[in-house]
């Protein structure tokens, strides 16, 4: 990639990140409102509360991956940007946002577990059993990998919709549903669910988060292939 090309990838990243509210604030507003509700409940509750409310941030990232394509792709292609530059520029944006989110989550996990235990009211929102195991760098990596994975899951779905339209999405949904049903049936029939459950329970968070990396790469490859054939 030469200087001029880097400039265009950077233009894509900066175009995406110009929406500072959606990328830097909204994830925290969403997780923060869930946290606030749980905090209020905790103040009045007698028991310790451990909640998975932080999942709202991850769900938001998934939707951001979906929305990002329709919001910026037609603009960028219209402004003479290559599809590959769009792809890598988007990667730069989610890399940065993912790192900020992961750093924030790691920090809050530490505050919650080490400095102000359970925020003084017995609320465990950011530091959860299993999910928050490991050192700070390990936690950071876990959060980052899951965030990037969810973003590219959404991104790939949106690229599919952009490339094949409503009918394509409809057929794809049916196919996913059909494959899921068959797979689920086979697993029940063979009694594999129990084995699968045991296998999952035996994995560390790092192993699971690391396990998303090949899937993330797969979604990236699919998105890239779809984008290359997308017209606006």
């Amino acid at each position: 990639m030469n200087v001029a090309q880097r400039g265009r990838t950077k233009a894509v990243t900066s175009t995406i990140l110009k929406d500072k509210f959606s990328w830097y604030l909204l994830p925290w507003i969403i997780a923060g409102s869930s946290f606030a509700v749980n905090l209020i409940v905790s103040i009045f509750a007698k028991d310790v509360i451990t909640t998975g409310g932080v999942a709202s941030l991850y769900i938001y990232i998934l939707t951001a991956g979906i929305m990002s394509v329709s919001n910026t792709l037609p603009f960028m292609i219209g402004f003479s940007v290559r599809r590959s530059d769009y792809f890598w520029g988007t990667g730069g944006a989610i890399g940065l946002v993912g790192a900020i989110c992961a750093a924030g989550l790691t920090f809050l996990s530490y505050v919650e577990s080490e400095w102000i235990d359970g925020w003084g009211v017995g609320l465990y929102f950011f530091h959860l059993p299993y999910y928050s195991e490991g050192s700070a760098p390990v936690q950071f990596l876990n959060y980052f990998l899951v965030i990037v994975f969810l973003f590219y899951l959404g991104f790939a779905i949106a690229c599919l919709a952009k490339r094949f339209g409503k009918n394509g999405m409809f057929l794809f949904s049916i196919a996913v549903l059909a494959i899921g049903t068959v797979l689920s049936y086979v697993m029940t029939e063979r009694g594999w669910w129990i084995d699968f459950g045991h296998w999952l329970a035996g994995r560390t968070m790092l192993e699971l988060a690391g396990g998303t990396a090949p899937l993330t790469l797969l979604f990236m490859a699919i998105s890239y292939a779809l984008l290359r054939r997308t017209s606006v």
Binding site: A4, Q5, G7, R8, K10, A11, S14, T15, K18, D19, F21, S22, N71, T72, P74, F75, I77, G78, F79, S80, V81, R82, R83, S84, D85, R228, R229, S231, V232
Partner: protein, 298 residues
């Protein structure tokens, strides 16, 4: 003179419908081209394919001697301002100009600011809150300030009032004189832009009907006015594009050039000649029946 654009046998079909069929043309460096034709003629599709935003079903496209698809060295020299351009939800006018500066190597920020001012663009306002005319003005500012070696305007004036349109034409001519580049203006306000155009490509029903220098075009047809009977005898055997009558007076637009002898004889019979404007010619050419069009293009 090097060809900036070379299109060979370009075709785009959607199922059984051909939006563009077998179009071939070349665009030279530093000229202003008019891409003319009725709505739905295939102009926008051609421009989308030139800029690799849509894919051709057949044929070949070269821009600056290379295929434009995913070609950074081609695309960074191209600025395509289209009527249907979409902008990110939260973008302000300033954001659009900032990103344009990153994408166009020849971008002139001072000139962009001056143009924005001239068009009365509120740079802090969100693009989505702009009126249709203001939205068009954003495109015009980007298109001019990009100074892209190939600048394409697709119906850039929608919603712009006559004053703003005149401003656009003036600024385009001024800046073009200082920074020559290849410009394609796709429009159906032909009379307004005819003074800008050096060369015309006329697209009709997906086909290239005309590829001609404007100077040559004016000699392609003429209108003759006089008494109905004399007009009829004058035009008999000639290719008549249109004939209108008002009482005993008739006018006929005739394809081709009248010889000096014909003009003399006609003048003796009281017939008057007048040149056909570009718009009239285009209207005649694209408003005709199919077989007549084919006769014209052959």
């Amino acid at each position: 003179m090097s060809a900036v654009v070379k299109v060979t046998n370009l075709t785009k079909s959607y199922g059984d419908t051909a939006a563009v069929s077998g179009v071939s043309f070349e665009l030279e460096e530093n000229k202003i081209y008019g891409l003319l034709g009725r709505n739905g003629a295939g102009k926008t599709t051609i421009m989308h394919m030139l800029t690799a935003q849509q894919f051709a079903s057949g044929g070949n496209i070269e821009v600056f001697g290379e295929e434009p698809y995913e070609n950074e060295s081609v695309l960074r020299r191209v600025c395509f301002i289209k009527e249907s351009q979409k902008y990110p939800q939260m973008f302000t006018v300033k954001d659009v100009l900032d990103v344009s500066a990153l994408l166009h190597p020849n971008w002139d920020a001072a000139y962009a600011a001056e143009l924005a001012e001239a068009f009365g663009l509120p740079t802090k306002r969100k693009v989505h809150k702009l009126s249709r005319g203001m939205l068009s003005a954003v495109g015009v500012v980007v298109g001019l300030a990009s100074r892209a070696p190939l600048t394409i305007f697709d119906e850039p004036y929608l919603g712009l009032d006559a004053v703003a349109r005149a401003l656009f034409y003036d600024r385009l001519l001024e800046d073009y004189a200082e920074h020559p580049r290849t410009v394609i203006l796709s429009t159906h306000l032909i009379d307004e832009v005819s003074r800008l155009l050096e060369h015309v490509l006329l697209i009709d029903q997906g086909r290239l009907l005309l590829d001609q220098d404007v100077e040559r075009l004016s000699g392609m047809a003429y209108t003759v006015v006089g008494s109905a009977a004399r007009i009829d005898s004058f035009v008999s055997g000639k290719k008549v594009l249109s004939r209108d009558a008002m009482g005993a007076i008739a006018s006929a637009t005739v394809m081709g050039e009248a010889s000096p002898q014909e003009r003399r004889e006609a003048a003796e019979r009281g017939l008057e000649f007048s040149p056909v404007s570009l718009q009239q010619l285009i209207v005649h050419l694209t408003g005709r029946q199919k077989e007549e069009r084919e006769a014209v293009s052959s």
